[in-house]
Each structure stands twice: as C-alpha cells, then as structure tokens.
Symmetry: C2
Subunit: 334 residues, 2 copies
Amino acid sequence: MVAERAKVSRVAVSRAFNPHTSLKPEKRALILRIAQELNYTPDRAARALVSGRSHSVGVIVPDVCSPRESQEIDALTTALQNEGFATLLFKTQTDMSMDETLLTYMKGFNPDAVIAFVENIPPATLARVLDQAVPIYVHYPLEGQPETGVLAADKTLHDQLNVMQRNGIEQAVALLQGYGARRIAYLSGLPRSLASVAREQTLRAVMADRGLDEPIVFSGDFTYDTAYAATVDLFRVGQGADAVFAANDVGAFGVIDALRHEFGLRVPQDVKVVGFDDIEQSHWKSYSLTTVKIDLAERVRALVRLILRRLNDPGAPAFVETLQTRLVVRGTVG
Amino acid sequence: MVAERAKVSRVAVSRAFNPHTSLKPEKRALILRIAQELNYTPDRAARALVSGRSHSVGVIVPDVCSPRESQEIDALTTALQNEGFATLLFKTQTDMSMDETLLTYMKGFNPDAVIAFVENIPPATLARVLDQAVPIYVHYPLEGQPETGVLAADKTLHDQLNVMQRNGIEQAVALLQGYGARRIAYLSGLPRSLASVAREQTLRAVMADRGLDEPIVFSGDFTYDTAYAATVDLFRVGQGADAVFAANDVGAFGVIDALRHEFGLRVPQDVKVVGFDDIEQSHWKSYSLTTVKIDLAERVRALVRLILRRLNDPGAPAFVETLQTRLVVRGTVG
DNA sequence: CGCAACAATGAACACGTTTTCACGACTCGT
DNA sequence: ACGAGTCGTGAAAACGTGTTCATTGTTGCG
C-alpha cells in the first residue's frame, strides 16, 4: 500500500474510498489526489474477501448470439456498469437447461446475484447449489398468468418483475381480425419454454374472447432454421393459415422467408405475420415485422433496480414491478 | 473452513484442490469427497488475493447487439469457460473508442487478461492505466499489411493473431469480375476503423492487380441503418455501381435492402453484393449473402490459446498464429 | 546398516482490504 | 465549568486462501 505517502494510516485510505465513513474532508481529498497520482485503486479481491461482496452479477444464457439475448446482455451490462457492478457471463452447454455443474462453477466466482435467462432449472438443483447469500433471479412466466415473473431462490422472498403480455397480444389479434384473418397459427418456441407456453395461453384466451377458432399450433425452438422448416411442413400438407403468430421475432423471420421463398406467398397479402420481442432486426426492410414489443432496456433497468434493492436490504418485503407490452405495427400485417 | 472434519490441516485442503502439490492420494480423495458433501469450493476472492490471479478475462465491446460481436462473445465465453475462466463483460459508452475511465473501472476487477474489441485506444491511455501484470490483447490490423493483428500492451511482447484477408477478397473479386462487374463500390465501416481500412487497402490492391478501376468508396459505420442511407445517397446521384463490397455483413444487408426497396433493383441481376464476416444471419433466405468468411470460433480459440500461453509463461518469446479467410458463395453474386 | 534424497505434513506468514474497538479532541446543553 | 455526546483517528483483528520453511517419516542406494 503505497498511498501512505500521505502520512496517514491505511485505515484512512480505506475510509477515503468509502463515502459513508467519517473522515476529515481535506484529508480525504488529499488521499484521493495522491491515489490518483499513484494510479491506485483499492484491490477488489481483498475487498471482496472481507466484505463478501464481489460487485459482480452472474449472467447465464444459452446462446449469446440470439439477437434477443444479446440485446438483453447489452442493456444489462450497461445498467450494471452504471451501478458499479461487472457482468460475469456464462453459457449453458447445449439447450436452454442448466445443469448443476455450471451453477457450481459460476458460484465459485462469488457473484452477488445471478440472473439466469434459462427457464428449466430444477428447483432441487437450485436449492442445493446456492446458499441464501446469493439472491437468484430466475426469469419465467408465472403459471397460468399472462405475465413473466422474477423469482427469488428463497421461496419466501418473491421479488417480481411482471411483464403483462396481454395488452400487446390483444392489439395484435384485433388487428389481424380487422384484416379478415380467420385461420391463425401459433409457432411455439421450445416446447418446455415457459415464455412460449405463457404466450400461447394468452393468445388462446384472447382469441376465444373474440370468438375466433383455436389457433393451429406448430412447434419451433426460437431459431430461424427450425421456424423455416416448421413452416414448410405446415403449409405443405394442410391449407396453411392466413396469419401466423410467432413466439419470437427471429422465428417470425423464418416463417416469412419460408412463405416467400418456398411457396411464393406474399406477406402480408396472402399471409400475415406477427412476432414477439421487437428486436433490432425487426425493422429491417426485408422483414419490417409487426411485433409485440417488450421494452428490453426498461425491463433490464427494472431488473437491476430489483437486485440493488434486495442487496441493500436483504430482509425487506417483496418488491414488485410491472411492465406493459404494446404492438408495433410495421409491414407484415395489413 | 469446515472441511477440517477430515481431521487434516487447512493446508492439506488447499493442496487437495491444487493438482501439482504433494499429498497422499488417499488423503486427497478423502478431502475432496468431504468437500463435495459439504458443498465446499475454495473461495475465489481469497485465492485471487494471494495468487494475484482472478481467473477472469475482461472483454470490452462497443455494442453487444451487433451480430458479429455477439458471436465473438459467445465463442469466447465458451472457450474461456472450458479453461476455467470467467468472462467479465464491459461496454464502451458511445462509439468504438475507449476512454480511460472504462479501462480504470475494468482494471479494478483485476482481470488476468483483457480483450478489447475496440480499435482506437490511445497508446498513452493504455500504457498509463495498465500495469504490466495484465497482458492486453487489442485486436487491429497491422499497418500497411493485409492482416489483423493482436498486439500486447508491452511493445516488446508481440503475440500476434493474423487474419489473412487477401485470400477471401481475391476470390470475391475474381467472382465479381467473372460475372462482368466493372464498377465496384466499397462501403466502408467507421472511417477510423483499422479493420475497415485494411479491407479497403487489400481490395484496392487486388483490384489493381486484376486491371480493374479504383473502387468507388462510400462510407458507413458497420450498422444497417447507415449502410441503407449511404446506399440511397450513392445510387441517387451518380450511376451507382454494378457491385458493392461491404465492410461487414450487416452493412451488406442495408445495401441490399436499399437497392431493392428504394430503387427496385434486383440483387444479383442488377447489382451484386459481397459482405465480410459470415455471421449467422447471412444465410437467411432474404439475404443469402455471398461473403468473405472469417471462422470466428477458430479465431477465438486461437485468441484464448495465446492468452493461456502468455499467462503460463510471461517471459516467453512472441507467439504467432495465422488464420485464413475464404469466400462463401451464396445468392448475391451470380 | 548408514546416510542421503525425497514425499508428506503442518505451523507461521503474507495478501490488501474492512471492521471493531478504544482513545483523545472537540461541541453542546445545562 | 462539567459531563454527555459526536467526530476523527489509528491499532489490531479478521476474511480464506497460497506459499515458504522446517520437521518428520519413508525410500533408495551403496
């Protein structure tokens, strides 16, 4: 510790860097100035060792390449960075599931919190691997409700970030119906994905409310290629559909391309398409996708807010935040 | 430290987790078994404090959303994870530059190495902020040569990862020429981007070698929207071009969409388009882009190899790795 | 059998912080 | 003017490892 050039104890240096400690202002200023000169910053490792806080947040994703996730990571990194945290990124190996190995591995890096963009973590795994020290934020839709939630590891805690999907879906269905669509299909995401299931449930409910027949469901896995292939299958055998609702935007791109290039169908004249997310690529002219928008940036800010509050006050009652969705109308409907 | 249930000293526990220490095998096994039962892993913070190694690698990017970068981060995370490292992700604030603030901030987290997908870091900043303890791997093209390089912070070290761009560009130009293209344009990336400059230089050299006129250069910034607008400008005033070479794939998408939707031009019949990178989206049917491919996964593996070697042997002479590019032919040429 | 080399082991220390505790120097209210 | 409270300060302890050093038990070689 070289900063004792200021003729003060190491304790004083420590205090100089911690706002809420009592230290004579002029002395603090002196220490900070000298630290600046010497290019000194308090060692995070030592700090983490004694405080138990690493000031990092573990983020687990299945696939960084997916536009939706990369946008989420981007926003998350920015938000965390602004709060003095670092993003510790980890990837699940194959599918969207997460095994105990990865969780243990990540836990080894002592993240203060964990955000898992992964849906099917066995609760047993979760409970066993994590001490209560690390608040886990798993993100998935609440059962039977048209919202996604954020659930703490400890079942008694229950911080929630609710994304109300119903608004956007209602607007989309109304628009489709307005343009005369009758046979509406739903391209699911991964079959076990709770997000996809929740969207399907809400869609069914909304369509029933408006007197429409049940949707034709065909299954994808959130990727372009699978969506493309699934669309080819659907339209080759039956009479297809006159509107397709995809569980995510990338899937919608696959649907659009399959319709155009495999069957020569026009979008939106012959088939209308609606996506979900509103990712960066959705406004590209080749797709110009009408889609149900979740404001990712805002959602991530809310997430970070939740984490920070919980970290500052571990014993506080559950926090709840709610986000709305809305339809962004572009060229694939109408 | 609860693992003394095994009736051994803490030192023995430490040794049990470190392969190259002398400890009776049966005792090591016992300790590891008990550790497993107790769900114990050595504390990284303490480990980092004493060893000076955090087992994490800082990664700096301007924009995680960009497909190219997200693919790179994805591959990097996988590779690092396999080697027992974590990825510490940071974002530059606005453009592709990096200010001292961010570098200092990141340094506070003690990454063992830094990979910056950022090109214009002032050497002064670099030198001042980093101790020699952290090998910096900045990635940019070597001056006047048709390759990108990886340069260590210390100028005496000089580990290099060379990406030979010439191969792919030659194949692309030959193909364009074979289809009768004469007026070839180049859409640059960010004007100060060394990668873009290197590609332009190589393109010029190759075209001169083949007796073609100088390329028409118009400038973008690697994004879709800017590429779209720049293409509109170019084709509105002059007579345009009969082939466009874009500095990256996303830019090529913007070019294609502008040609089709603003001018009703057909790709490839009226204008041929070649990109650079071969990202995931390039095979999507709406674009089906012919592009110069860099094997990102292989490039990242090489990068990680370099870092690991340097970490194991800080004094070793410079390591050099070389990667080739090749043309992937799809639908936008021919 | 004797001596040297070597494997196995634990005690003590080091790493760079934050936190707790104790002490003196003030300020304030009466 | 005196005690109570507050502020500023540093000494010492603590955080959980890896490392060095000395000690003991063991093997190998002549």
